[in-house]
C-alpha cells in the first residue's frame, strides 16, 4: 500500500483497476516453477483461459520455439525451454506491456542469444517490454531507454548511448606516438577532453570524431599514431560511475 503519491500504468491505477491492468500487463517472474505434471501446451492453454482476448496458443508456442516440446512435461524441459515457456505465459494474454525479469540469468551463451532474438521479435510486434537485467550488454543491445536503479532509486534514465556519454565515458583512443609530442597539440582540439600517458602510450579521451581529429592534428606536427586502439564508453562504464558500490546494487532497464 503506498503511503503517498500516485502510480498510473496505461492510464490505470494499479490498486483500483487491479484486474483490468492485469489483463494488459504480462509478467514473467524470475523465481517460481510451474506445475511439473503439465505439458507445455496444457500450461499455455490454462493461462490463455485467464484472459479475455488470448493469443493463439499454438502460434505462440511455435514462435517461442517450443513446438517440438508441445507435449513434453514441464519437469522434462531444459532451463532455456522453461525460460521460453515463462515468456510465453507473459505474452499469452496479448498484453500491451510485458515485464520480463532477469530473463537470461543462468542461460548458456547460445540460449541467451536466442532469447535476445526472441525479445527483439516481440518488441517489433509493438509490445512494450520492461526488462530487468544485470547484464549491461543485454541492456545495450535490447533497450531503447535504460533506467539505472540504485538501492531502489532511479539514478539515471536515458538511451544506452546517452547514458554512456553522460556518465563521462565518451570515446578513448589509445596509441603509441612515433615520436614525443606536446600534449597541447591534442588538448586544444574541440573533441578532446583529456590526454593521459600510460608508459609509451597516449590515451586521448573525448567525444564525436575523436579518431580523425587526433590523426589530423598529429600529422600536422609530423607525428604518426601507431598501434591504435579505439574504445567506446559502454553502459558498463556508465553503470560503475552512476551506482554507489554496495553488496546488493541492482539495475533495471526498459525498452519501448
Amino acid at each position: 500500500m503506498p503511503d503517498s503519491g500516485t502510480i498510473s500504468v496505461l492510464g490505470l491505477d494499479p490498486l483500483r483497476d487491479r484486474a483490468a491492468l492485469r489483463e494488459r500487463v504480462g509478467v514473467q517472474l524470475q523465481e517460481g516453477t510451474l506445475r511439473p505434471q503439465l505439458t507445455v501446451a496444457e500450461t499455455v492453454s490454462l493461462f490463455a483461459s485467464f484472459y479475455p482476448q488470448p493469443a493463439d496458443t499454438g502460434e505462440l508456442i511455435d514462435m517461442l520455439g517450443l513446438g517440438p516440446k508441445r507435449n513434453g512435461y514441464y519437469r522434462r524441459l531444459s532451463g532455456g525451454q522453461k525460460q521460453r515457456l515463462s515468456i510465453a505465459l507473459a505474452l499469452v494474454g496479448n498484453p500491451q506491456i510485458a515485464i520480463l525479469d532477469e530473463l537470461t540469468t543462468g542461460l548458456d551463451p547460445q540460449a541467451r542469444r536466442e532469447t535476445w532474438r526472441l525479445i527483439e521479435t516481440v518488441r517489433d510486434r509493438g509490445i512494450t517490454i520492461l526488462l530487468v537485467t544485470h547484464f549491461m550488454d543485454e541492456a545495450e543491445r535490447l533497450c531503447n531507454r535504460v533506467a539505472v536503479i540504485d538501492s531502489g532509486r532511479v539514478v539515471a534514465l536515458d538511451t544506452p548511448a546517452g547514458l554512456a556519454e553522460r556518465a563521462g565515458g565518451g570515446n578513448h583512443m589509445r596509441f603509441r606516438p612515433s615520436k614525443p609530442f606536446d600534449d597541447r597539440v591534442l588538448t586544444g582540439l574541440a573533441g578532446v577532453d583529456r590526454v593521459e600517458h600510460e608508459g609509451p602510450r597516449v590515451v586521448a579521451s573525448g567525444t564525436g570524431e575523436l579518431f580523425n581529429a587526433v590523426v589530423h592534428a598529429l600529422n600536422a606536427v609530423g607525428v604518426e599514431a601507431l598501434e591504435v586502439q579505439l574504445e567506446s564508453a559502454t553502459l558498463e562504464d556508465a553503470f560503475l560511475r552512476l551506482v554507489q558500490p554496495s553488496p546488493d546494487s541492482s539495475k533495471e532497464v526498459t525498452t519501448p
Binding site: L10, G11, L12, D13, R16, D17, A19, A20, R22, E23, V27, L29, E31, G32, T33, L34, R35, P36, Q37, L38, E42, S45, L46, F47, S49, F50, Y51, P52, Q53, L89, G93
Partner: protein, 260 residues
C-alpha cells in the same frame, strides 16, 4: 473503473475456473498421492477386513444388532477423509505456495483463491468417489446392509467431510513448507483416526475414551454415520460437534491463509 476498463468484455471467469479444475484433476491423476492414500489404502483395508473371518459376527449386546464389519464402514470413511483432507490437500497447496505458483497466478487476472477452490473441488470429488466405493463395496461384497437412513448418512458424511477439509485448509494456511504441512497433517491424522475407532472400535472404548471420541470430528462422524446405518436419524450432538470443527477451523484457515 476507468473508461478504458469499462470498455472491456466481461472476464471469462467461468472458463478460467473450469480450466483450473480440469488442470488440477490432470495433476491429481498424474501425481496420484490423493488417489493412492485416499482411495487405494481404504479400499485395500476394506478388502482385508472383509476377507478376515469373524467380522461378520453380530457384536454381542449391540442394539439394534450390528456386525463388526458394519462398524468399520464409517471408520474407513474417516480414513478416506484424513488421507485426502489432511495429507493430500495441504501438501499440494503448500507446495504450490512454496514454488511461487500462487504468486505467478497473482500476476494474471485470476486470483490465486481460484486455484484453492479448484484444488478443494478436485479433492472433494476424490473423497466422494472413495466414500461411494467404500459403502458400495461393503454392501455388495461384505454383507453390510445399505444405510437404513440414507439422508442422515449423507448428511453425517458431508459434515465430517466439511470438518476434515476445514482442518486440512487450516494446516495449509499455517504450514510454512511442504515438510511442515506433512508433519502437521500426520499430527492431526493419528489421534483423529484413533478416536474414530480404527484400532479400538468405539463400542469397545472405555467410557472416558468414548467421551473424548464424541468431541473429535471423526468420533462424532462415526457415531452419526453408524446411527444412520442402523436406521435412526443421527442425534444432534455429533452433528453439532462436526459443524463446530468445520466453522472454527474454516474461519481460522481463511484468517491465516497467505499466498506467498
Amino acid at each position: 473503473m476507468s473508461a478504458l476498463a469499462a470498455t472491456l468484455p466481461r472476464r471469462p471467469r467461468r472458463r478460467a475456473l473450469r480450466e483450473l479444475i480440469i488442470t488440477e484433476a490432470k495433476c491429481a491423476w498424474r501425481a496420484p498421492v490423493g488417489l493412492a492414500l485416499g482411495v487405494l489404502v481404504p479400499v485395500v483395508l476394506l478388502v482385508i477386513l472383509g476377507s478376515a473371518g469373524g467380522l461378520q459376527k453380530i457384536i454381542p449386546g449391540s442394539n439394534p444388532p450390528v456386525t463388526y464389519m458394519t462398524t468399520y464402514v464409517p471408520v474407513l470413511i474417516g480414513l478416506v477423509l484424513v488421507m485426502i483432507a489432511l495429507i493430500s490437500l495441504p501438501i499440494v497447496l503448500v507446495n504450490q505456495r512454496e514454488h511461487a505458483f500462487l504468486r505467478r497466478l497473482s500476476t494474471t487476472p485470476v486470483a490465486p483463491r481460484w486455484l484453492l477452490a479448484a484444488q478443494v473441488v478436485v479433492n472433494l470429488v476424490l473423497a466422494v468417489v472413495a466414500m461411494i466405493v467404500i459403502v458400495a463395496g461393503a454392501t455388495l461384497f461384505y454383507h453390510v446392509a445399505a444405510p437404513a437412513q440414507p439422508g442422515g448418512f449423507v448428511l453425517s458424511a458431508l459434515l465430517a467431510t466439511a470438518a476434515l477439509f476445514a482442518i486440512g485448509l487450516f494446516i495449509a494456511a499455517v504450514a510454512a513448507n511442504g515438510v511442515v504441512a506433512a508433519v502437521l497433517g500426520t499430527l492431526f491424522l493419528y489421534p483423529l483416526i484413533f478416536f474414530a475407532g480404527l484400532w479400538v472400535p468405539r463400542q469397545s472404548m472405555s467410557p472416558t475414551m468414548r467421551h473424548i471420541s464424541d468431541y473429535t470430528p471423526l468420533g462424532a462422524g462415526v457415531h452419526a454415520m453408524l446411527s444412520s446405518m442402523q436406521g435412526s436419524f443421527p442425534p444432534v450432538q455429533p452433528l453439532l460437534v462436526m459443524a463446530a470443527w468445520a466453522v472454527v477451523f474454516g474461519l481460522a484457515a481463511v484468517k491465516l491463509f497467505h499466498w506467498e
